[in-house]
Amino acid sequence: MATIEIRDLRLSFGALDVLKQLNLDIAEGEFIVLLGPSGCGKSTLLNCIAGLLDVSDGQIHIGGRNVTWEEPKDRGIGMVFQSYALYPQMSVRGNLSFGLKNQRLPKAEIEQRIARAAKVLQIEPLLDRRPAALSGGQRQRVAIGRALVRDVDVFLFDEPLSNLDAKLRSELRVEIKRLHQQLENTMVYVTHDQIEALTLADRIAVMRGGVIQQLADPATIYNKPTNLFVAGFIGSPSMSFLDGHITSAGGAPAFRTGDLTVPLAGYDGAVPAADGRAVILGVRPEHVTIGPDGAGGLPATVDIDEPMGSDSLVWMQFAGQTLSARTAPGHGLAAGQQVGLGFDPTRASLFDRDSEQRF
């Protein structure tokens, strides 16, 4: 329950500028997810907030206090790591109490905090085991517990779930979300898994090369990605992109690729004047509809069908480019089959080819 303000943060390792003039304001109790490809500086930013890296320039405020030069332990933060980072030679109880003993809290207080955290995380029966005797999910719970007992205002998570298998990941995801609703702490959560980002975040900061590309709530990020990078990075199966240019069809602006024209009426954004400008149209697979050939749709050829259980992803050739559509399974489409496509312009995104920005 503290704000975090990051002002003009710069961090370089030698000649390598990892973070460049980064600004970020996090409200009290907010759940912020830092999302981005590997090496974009997410962990670096998190470590700066935690005080584990010395910043090269700029300031960090936590709860209104300038903590730029403070020790990690004095910043009121708890941190959870991808590799759990449990102390292997201590029992779970030892792991939980280590930080508290360092603070010289009274024994009773320590006991009580551990009991509470163990209850919240349902790890009571594990308290006397060593980390080696725990499963991955249990370890991660203990790691969270270690942050929990410290009674801090800010939780920092560095890819806490990446080492777990898909099933556990989705379970713990829900637990973390529930934990946040319960504690109402400020949380900063690093991941490169977009599902985690979308499901957990109040706001997502999509990063690339040390710069925040877009900072917004999940729906906005998903539906109105600010540029090509964000659009391609978010969404799985990912957005299909079609190269083309703007024309006008019957007065209204339209997108033209090859010899096909897609009307853009109702596009949620400022479509540029129909000046032949080179643009890229991005459509998410779930917004593409497939009809029978010739029934008014745009002509395409089925390429490959990927059944994914709950849905099926159909890859098609469309005007010489590849495009995917999500359909219900068992649609009976065979490779090579001709189909008619439909787009919903209100849910598509249009990007400038040069600047890669969304209109």
Binding site: M79, S83, Q89, G99, N102
Partner: protein, 303 residues
């Protein structure tokens, strides 16, 4: 065939594990080579043991490889407690205890210093640390001869020349580079997140060292201890240059006994003395060789 029904429904032909002849050509070559080489490595030990158990007359007959006809432990007794150097005739026994007195503080001190150094270098980099470390590593390769003399002067200036403390310091100094390297590599391989977690938990430099790092570095400590025990125990040069005769270590005593030729060379006594001197490191190796290899893999060799 009794079990024919049980395997009904199976196809014919190769089933189950590939048949392996114990004496396949590969095995013959492999084990043959190994055994031959092992014999070569064992030969000197065998010669030492056998010779040390023979009497002088038998040795003069000349075959060093033949087993003793008449086993005598006299040479061992002599080497341990009777052999003379000059006027001192108490054999190796005195040197043994001297060696122990030198060994224990040297090993403890050098490992303590080196492990803290390695830890500081791996986890608490500060400006210039790498420079000092590089110097240290290069220093490991400077021939001792270059430094014997100035160190005599240094020790004299701080008044520790000839004392046991002085020797302990010398051992710690010369053990430092390799041990620091070992520890640094090992601690670098400990996940950094563990260290970060401990810092967030409010543990300081020493807290992390004692509570987190130490308990998980057994393998590398084993390597360090083995290296130091054998190195210090086997040391001759420092023992002889930096101490006085009443605290000479066992190797110096050995050299004295072996080189104090009284009439004929008593090879059996020499061999017994040699084995006795090598016994401590040998025992250490025989019992912890496995840990040594594992520790080397963890600390010395990085892919």
């Amino acid at each position: 065939m009794v079990g024919a029904d049980a395997v009904a429904g199976r196809l014919d032909g190769p089933t189950g594990p590939r048949p392996r002849r114990a004496l396949s050509r590969r095995n013959v070559i492999l084990y043959g080579t190994l055994i031959v080489i092992a014999l070569y490595y064992l030969l000197p030990l065998y010669v030492m043991v056998v010779t040390s158990l023979k009497g002088m007359p038998e040795i003069r007959l000349g075959n060093i490889f033949s087993p003793p006809v008449e086993v005598t432990f006299q040479p061992w007794v002599k080497a341990w407690s009777e052999a003379c150097t000059g006027l001192n005739c108490d054999g190796l026994s005195r040197g043994f205890w001297n060696s122990v007195r030198i060994l224990i503080p040297s090993v403890v001190l050098s490992i303590a210093i080196a492990s803290v150094n390695g830890y500081a270098l791996a986890n608490w980099r500060f400006k210039g640390a790498d420079v000092f470390f590089t110097i240290l590593i290069i220093g490991a390769f400077i021939p001792y001869q270059v430094m014997i003399y100035p160190i005599v002067i240094l020790l004299r200036e701080i008044g520790l020349y000839g004392s046991l403390t002085g020797l302990v310091i010398v051992h710690s100094i010369f053990g430092m580079p390799i041990l620091t390297l070992l520890f640094r590599n090992y601690f670098t391989s400990v996940p950094e997140e563990l260290f970060k977690a401990a810092r967030v938990d409010g543990a300081g430099f020493w807290g992390i060292y004692f509570r987190i790092m130490l308990p998980m570095s057994l393998p590398i400590f084993v390597v360090a201890i083995i290296l130091q025990v054998t190195g210090i125990w086997n040391d001759f040069l420092f023992g002889v240059v930096y101490t006085r005769p009443d605290v000479y270590p066992m190797t110096v005593q050995l050299n004295n006994i072996v080189n104090s030729v009284q009439g004929v060379k008593e090879y059996n006594v020499n061999m017994a003395a040699t084995i006795l001197t090598g016994l401590v490191p040998l025992v250490v190796y025989f019992f912890s060789g496995k840990l040594f290899v594992r520790g080397i893999a963890a600390g010395a060799v990085k892919g």
